[in-house]
């Protein structure tokens, strides 16, 4: 029993319908990565939303529209001077998480900068419309860990740094919460003592990154792309699919020989798909074309006109490009569309 509250990150699926699966399991509070996504879910009934991206006051109209819908909105702040700008323009109330950087070096106030953290807390406490909620940290360096043990040790280190910051703020804010979000850590860590809340996202589908990290088994990857075979080249032992950078994005991994690849291949069947096929990999992408390198046995078993499955490197980006899902029982599921 980990005793943490889950705020699942909906940036991975970006789908109202998949959101309802979470709702059916009792989830009421969610995380998103943009205000656009927050508005999408707010318009579909979600009433407790954290936007896990440093707040941009230029988007104040959207912030106010979301609050106006009755949403309990939690925003991230990473610098003291943003607090008053936000407070001046917000209509209604928002809760604030201060984003911490505990070594990932993307965004957030470095955990060592206690004075700056205290300045932000003090500004929030002086603000009319903002309430200090706690500290948030995305320890994204777990995505680059070399083993599950390493993921656990990164998580333990980040956790102890956050607990340390909390100790220094506890007098001014005894109720502050600590939240961490990242699928690798949230999946494998067994001791979350001291952390109150988590906000992972990718776990809903998993992908080859998670599989290569040892965080999920191959059969726990829940999405595959169906790609038609459009050409073959016998001399190069290559199969060409309709599946390129506009479908997969360009994230990649390296195999054991340090060769870059963009997806693993499975055989689609009635119940889903086969284990990963050895001897074939998606090795190059242009806008619409995907090139697969295959051994000659597999080359001969695949024909132009076949549809083969590809497990994505990064399911969030692939889902973001494809914009919808087909379930195994034949139902189409929607994904947030781009809108401006």
């Amino acid at each position: 029993m980990l005793d943490v509250k889950l705020f699942p990150h909906f940036k991975t699926h970006q789908s109202i319908e998949i959101g309802e699966w979470f709702s059916a399991l009792g989830i009421q509070a969610i995380t998103v990565s943009s205000l656009k996504m927050a508005e999408y879910f707010a318009n579909n009934g979600w009433r407790d939303i954290t936007v896990a991206f440093p707040v941009n006051v230029l988007e104040i109209e959207r912030i106010n529209r979301i609050i106006d819908l009755g949403v309990d909105l939690t925003l991230l702040i990473v610098a003291p001077d943003v607090v008053s700008k936000l407070d001046d323009q917000i209509v209604g109330r928002a809760k604030i998480l201060i984003e911490m950087d505990a070594g990932y070096n993307r965004t957030g106030v470095p955990v060592e900068e206690i004075d700056m953290i205290k300045a932000i807390v003090s500004n929030i406490n002086s603000a009319e419309n903002l309430g200090f909620y706690g500290l948030y940290c995305h320890p994204g360096n777990t995505y680059h860990a070399s083993s599950v043990e390493k993921i656990k040790s990164i998580w333990a280190d980040v956790k102890s740094k956050l607990v340390g910051v909390k100790a220094k703020l506890i007098e001014i804010n005894p109720t502050l919460k600590l939240r961490m979000g990242d699928t690798p850590g949230c999946t494998v860590v067994e001791d979350m003592n001291g952390i109150d809340e988590i906000g992972p996202g990718n776990f809903v589908f998993n992908d080859l990154v998670m599989n290569y990290l040892g965080v999920c088994a191959e059969d726990q990857i829940a999405v595959a792309m169906a790609c038609p075979v459009v050409a073959k080249n016998k001399e190069r032992n290559e199969i060409v699919i309709h599946g390129g950078a506009v479908h997969f994005s360009k994230d990649h991994l390296f195999d054991s020989d340090e060769n870059k690849f963009f997806g693993e291949v499975v055989i689609l069947n009635e119940n889903g798909w086969s284990p990963i096929i050895e001897g074939i990999k998606l090795v190059a992408l242009s806008q619409e074309h995907g090139i697969m390198s295959v051994n000659s046995e597999i080359f001969n078993s695949i024909e132009v006109g076949d549809v083969i499955g590809v497990l994505p490197i990064h399911s969030c980006l692939t889902a973001n490009l494809m914009k919808s899902y087909l379930t195994l029982d034949g139902k189409w599921i929607n994904h947030l569309e781009k809108e401006f």
Copy 2:
């Protein structure tokens, strides 16, 4: 005077409205990279469309819908056995280009395989509903050339190979056309003698790839992304923008020190944007975040809440993700939406 017919490739902009700019200049025939895109433009009045992607007979319904609209449709074929499958299922007529591979090694029949090419031509000539139109080649290796001279020499080589294939087919098909498509070559090559038609696309916007190749000047890049600054880190001299992999894709270039980067930075102004700013580059992307490495002088001149411009590495992929454009005079222009 190059004396070739231009079939501009609309996969770069994917926009009805930008298509109308071409139409106003007298263009009536276009290229696209998918049947979905063909249908989008067909539904908006275009009546001569080449789908420059190996035909996938599984999409026969869409092919037939497009022909049914009265479109003069040209399809690419890369193998003999696809001809009869297409011929059997097509309702109406289509013209066929055989895609040639002259060294790029993506798709197409290798130019050396004269027997296979003749077999395809023969199958087309026996088909009831298909007409042999000519040979198509995308010499995409020009995108990896080290100089403009190298681009010209790749083009000359490919051209002579195509002319060679044509000579061997001329008895059975005296009217066949030769078409080549690629922005680098089509922009710099001065001698196209022997080639009848060209189908480049990227030139409508250009991008940093074209600029780094020496194919376009910096001020010929016609798209920039406006990105809000959401955080700064003084210790690392980093600026964080809202602009990540879901906006730019993950294409990158390497600077002169072999450092990977994802975009160059410009200052947006009333008339467009400044030249590229030295001392700042977009060096890392996650789903929504972009990290810019900057020198300290520039660091101090940029504030959270500013909006800065980023020139994309690959304009086709960036446009495909953003799904709309804002012109310098404040007008929104649409882009094909994903639909299934």
